[in-house]
Symmetry: C2
Subunit: 429 residues, 2 copies
């Protein structure tokens, strides 16, 4: 058996400790499967005295991750610090330059600086692996880069932020408003220090930008993702959507069209009985559509110590086995510009309005929709007391986002709306 | 760019033609992703004059697959002939011996002779890849061999025969008896020439034996799978199970226990709202449970030209990229004997009986169950006319298969059964 693959682990949060535990628990299994032992040489984190749930006494301690990145007795630099710049980026660059391969779970860094890092790594003959960066334990990076490599990918989509999915699921099951469930999630420790990363859709969009790059052979373009978070999803909309057979999910979708690459992250309706609609709680799901394979659905835990560490270890084992692939599946210099395009792919839309209780109100609304070229698939008017507002729901036929935008702009001019209309895309899944 | 990887394709049925189409359609994409062109040198099939849906004029034709296996201008022998012995096995062995790697979709061959072939290949420094052998386009072999390699696998299970799942789904949705839907499936061309391979659970068991081997590091042991097909699933049971919130699926389960490796393929009840329960029609699903990753669910088309060819191409691209792993993830000589064990893991069971309309009948039944140590979770007695038989359903608490077997043997001795009792395992999913 060959010499051990030596890891230096920078960052000893949940995931870092998870990796340490797997290396300790499964030494024999890892050696058998990798063809060589996997060993930890040194570790690094901010606070040495912090009580951690693993015995680290056998490893050299470095206060500075940069020392780990430069250490001569480390083959693979495992970056689990996080953050889209700063020491995470600096230490990865230093590790690559000093001849190390890199395994990271850092989605923000890859979404923002993936191109630069991939070119650096490949120029130096080094490898960066990042299975843990997207959808935790779900092996979506490997599936897309390797298993579906014989396909032209048509679309990739997914529910990739467990916290948002927990909030939306809990709002529906408990009938609670957003603010209350958000507070619950905060108290349960489900939210990032900056909760906008979760509920604002940023974290999920980082992941989408990485998947887009692999799917379409384009440079990662996080800035081009159209992002809307879940902050404005109301319990009313969740109930009304359920009435019509749908669930609301924070769904990321990337697809290549004749106009360019569309990447969107937004609350969408999906059929309640579809795999995405059935996804409850903190679980993640990624759906990939290829021209030969059709639709592949991958589901699993999107976060947490074990699942994320499992993904890190799959990268480590790959390196131990001597497998060396380009960062995004093809040489980084051959990735094309993504030609970002605003969403233009038609879809059905859900529209909810509160009408004033006036004769002819509904006629005015339907006239605006008709004039915008929008035809109605289903309409539902809810009971109301005389003089109170009239809740009305529409599910449109497939129409363009442009037509919907136009209608949303025009509708208030009818003078029969009690509040701003709500529109949500019904993604075809 | 390096020299092309040269394929020789033996077998030009649906899958073979699918592979030809991908190589022709995606030449540029394959070269970019593989780092070298992928080319077809020669092909072979039984009948040269047969009309096939692809232009084969650029490839040398060999009437004998053995000539392809020995050809000097072929790097990878793609075996798509099928069959658990004969020319498929002979030509693979010849290809390995003449220095070629092998890609195959042949589940029967791997389940029956995988150990022997893997040892031959690895002894010669050659590789056999078989992503297409299990669950069509679903990348389950790669997921288990590589992505989950940091986990001890606890259980792997799946619905892996689309024809059986189609038949069971259609029985429920159309309310038709087995025989009628079987005949429909035959007319639609969904059944193998020998339909026992499908409905007898053989084909799915081949796949399960392969997954077991990878999951547990054991020699493939198809003969040790306890197999029951779907022939005896009645529309009555499908309806009664639905009443209780379950669906019946032909489910394969492999799990390692203290007593040894349990492998079973049988019609089981699963909750109707679980991912497995929701699986309709010809789709496949594989569920893998690892000690770190938790539960991963993979879903997609389990058969058909595009999906299966996509899986073959993932193996081809892996070889083009120079990735060379042991056949079952670890060296074949290190695979252990599987210590086959009869199913002993406890589960809840579904029991259906027709009782004679006699006073005290139910008491006699429940006494037998109680004496066997089986407690009842739920019981349902259906309405009946005086003097006609009384349909009764039980869902038991978790109990051992041994206790159930004992009860099934003893129940007829009560003299109150109008027919043999039906028992189905309720697999925890």
């Amino acid at each position: 058996m060959s010499s051990p693959l030596r890891l230096g682990i920078a960052g000893l949060g949940t995931v870092g400790i998870g990796v340490v535990k797997i290396v300790q628990k499964h030494a024999g299994l890892l050696a058998q499967r990798s063809g060589r032992p996997v060993a930890i040489t040194a570790v690094s984190a901010r606070d040495r005295r912090k009580n951690r749930d693993a015995d680290l006494s056998a490893y050299r301690w470095e206060d500075d991750p940069m020392a780990l990145a430069l250490a001569e007795d480390v083959d693979v630099f495992v970056e689990l610090i996080g953050g889209d710049a700063g020491i995470a980026k600096d230490s990865i660059e230093a590790a690559l330059r000093s001849g190390k391969d890199v395994v990271t779970a850092n989605k923000a860094l890859l979404a923002m600086h993936g191109q630069e890092l991939a070119e650096l790594a490949e120029g130096l003959g080094r490898v960066i692996r990042f299975e843990a960066a997207v959808a935790g334990g779900i092996p979506v990076i490997k599936a897309m880069t390797e298993s579906l490599a014989g396909n032209r990918i048509n679309r990739v989509m997914g529910v990739m932020n467990g916290t948002c999915n927990y909030i939306l699921t809990r709002m529906e099951s408990a009938g609670l408003p957003y603010e209350e469930v958000f507070e619950e999630a905060r108290q349960l420790g489900y939210l990032e220090a900056d909760p906008t990363l979760d509920v604002g859709g940023i974290d999920a969009s980082h992941k989408l930008a990485i998947l887009s790059s692999i799917a379409f052979g384009t440079r990662p373009a996080f800035d081009a993702v159209e992002i809307e978070g879940i902050e404005r999803v109301s319990i009313d909309d969740i109930r009304r959507a359920a009435d019509m057979g749908y669930r609301i999910k924070l769904l990321g979708v990337a697809q290549m069209t004749a106009r360019g690459l569309e990447q969107r992250m937004s609350p969408c309706l999906v059929p309640a009985d579809s795999p995405l609609g059935q996804l409850a709680g903190g679980t993640n799901m990624v759906v990939v559509e290829g021209d030969s394979v059709g639709q592949i659905v991958l589901r699993g835990a999107g976060a947490g110590e074990g699942p994320t560490a499992s993904a890190v270890m799959s990268d480590v084992i790959e390196l131990a086995r001597g497998v060396r692939l380009p960062v995004f599946g093809v040489p980084a210099t051959s990735l094309s510009d993504s030609q970002p395009a605003r969403t233009a792919v038609p879809a059905a839309y859900y529209l909810r309005m509160e009408l004033l209780d006036k004769p002819g109100a509904l006629a005015k609304i339907t006239t605006v929709l008709g004039d915008a070229g929008i035809s109605i698939d289903r309409m539902r008017q809810y009971g109301h007391k005389d003089g109170s507002n009239v809740p009305v729901l529409f599910v449109t036929d497939r129409t363009t986002p442009e037509a919907i935008d136009h209608a949303i702009e025009t509708l208030p001019k009818t003078g029969v709306l009690a509040s701003d209309p709500v529109e949500l895309r019904i993604e075809e899944v």
